[in-house]
Symmetry: C2
Subunit: 293 residues, 2 copies
């Protein structure tokens, strides 16, 4: 391994599992999280804990960032004691958060002025994929930077694709979230119609899974909709954040996305009603509640 | 084969391919179509042509019906020279058309009064599936009738499921079409966003096909959306007919189906604009046209 000193900032559900896979793959890991006690499990595995992103950058050749939203990424990189203060020329920042493509391009420009390269590498596959190291990772950045990041990403994901220049990874992730909007709502409406029409809905799902209605959502999430229990998975509040990014990207690109917009409305309602920490499949509850007294 | 004399009424794109698979499987086939010259290919394979549905029924132990819509099924069964006039007690009618579940139950009741059993057996899988004999078939009817119909259905499809009493096959097909609404619109919006954001959209489809956005539509229909050419497949005018059936079923069951309703509106617009004979994936054109001058 040419560059084995890797930093990791952001130990949420996704980040913690991804960082654990990096330690297990033999990287010398320096970690930081806003809440330091999240690090205990990784320290046991052999990771070192730093007191700031700046210190992480000083100890690392490459640093993975995995936080929630655009302002969080900005704070970790450019805040006081941020990565930019500790990085040297050539320290590669790998942002695995899902944030705005246009903000990503701005961050990369600001970093480039200091000689610090960055790639965006948002992931898909949920907490199951993070734990199993089977994430789909969509990367934006220069060729050389992509090749430097590849061994690190390969320890966390199974399908790693270089989508284009900086921002292209985030744009691809936004497309993924838009496709999911329609797929989730289609399955939610179908499950609801089947249940209310007196069909054996589990048998319906099985019968349709071999045909044109087949999808990952039908196979893996219709069960939660039928049971009306929405264990994670992937939080609907985070999907909402991603859909809002996609809608802003749509406005920039001049395209109307009606089903994504409807999904954002339904998800906003779910978050307001206290369901934000449930799985995205809770969209079925929103659809069902339209026809309830 | 206990009952080898099978009739077939309705030789459209689907029916012709399905009837050919029945002859190839060794059934003694008697066929009828409103337009008689559609029968030439089947006569060459060994089928006999009848001059009316009544004559088909008189020559058959079981009769498959595969026509476009509820009034067509009613005419073939109950019209002058219809199946009901030629059938004997026990002649089994297998309706592979996609029609209203409630009309299906009414037809079955009227037939039962004459001692003629019926199963509804709508299919999914498009013209490719009809030709390859790999259709998904969803069956409603009594147990004995299902078991009688099974060998005939097995010659035309790969996945054959008994969903419940008469009408349950049609209800399941309606659920299938509702799920497709969301899946098609999600993929259409995603493809549009990718194209307008400067991404390599074919690479995007490939990158996402391993993850949660995976679906039959993404894998098999995004290419038509990218090329903006919508070869069949399955006609959008027929999908619209099916979605309208599902929406009526939703009203009966007391459920709102917002994405299915939006899809029906977009498809109505496409049909009015002369695109009714194109593949359902032409929904991508409707989505795109929302953002065009």
């Amino acid at each position: 391994m040419g560059e084995s000193r890797v930093g990791f900032c952001g130990l949420g559900t996704m980040g913690l599992a991804m960082a654990a896979n990096l330690v297990r793959s033999g990287f010398r890991l320096t970690i930081w999280n806003r809440t330091p006690d999240r690090a205990a499990e990784l320290i046991e595995l052999g990771a070192s804990q730093a007191s700031s992103p700046r210190e992480v950058a000083a100890e690392s050749d490459m640093v993975v960032v995995c936080v929630s939203d655009t302002p969080d990424v900005e704070a970790v990189i450019f805040g006081p004691q941020g990565l930019a203060e500790g990085a040297r020329t050539g320290t590669l920042i790998i942002d695995c958060s899902t944030i705005s493509p246009s903000a990503t391009r701005q961050f990369a420009e600001r970093l480039a002025e200091r000689g610090i390269p960055m790639v965006d590498a948002p992931v898909s596959g949920g907490s199951e994929g993070a734990q199993a190291g089977t994430l789909t990772i969509m990367v934006g950045g220069g060729d050389d930077d992509f090749h430097r990041a590849r061994p690190v990403l390969a320890a966390m994901g199974r399908s790693i694709t270089h989508m284009g220049p900086v921002g292209a990874g985030q744009a691809t992730k936004a497309v993924n979230q838009v496709i999911l909007c329609g797929t989730y709502l289609g399955v939610a409406e179908g499950v609801l119609l089947a249940m209310r029409s007196g069909l054996d809905v589990e048998q319906v799902v099985e019968a349709l899974s071999g045909g044109a209605a087949r999808s990952w959502v039908l196979e893996n999430r219709s069960g939660r909709m039928i049971a009306d229990e929405y264990a994670l998975g992937f939080k609907v509040s985070l999907h909402l954040k991603d859909v809002l990014i996609a809608l802003a990207m749509g406005r920039d690109a001049g395209v109307a996305l009606p089903v994504a917009a409807l999904t954002a409305q339904l998800e906003s309602g779910l978050v307001a009603a206290g369901h934000g920490d449930e799985d995205v499949s809770v969209l079925a509850r929103a659809v069902r509640s339209m026809s309830e007294p």
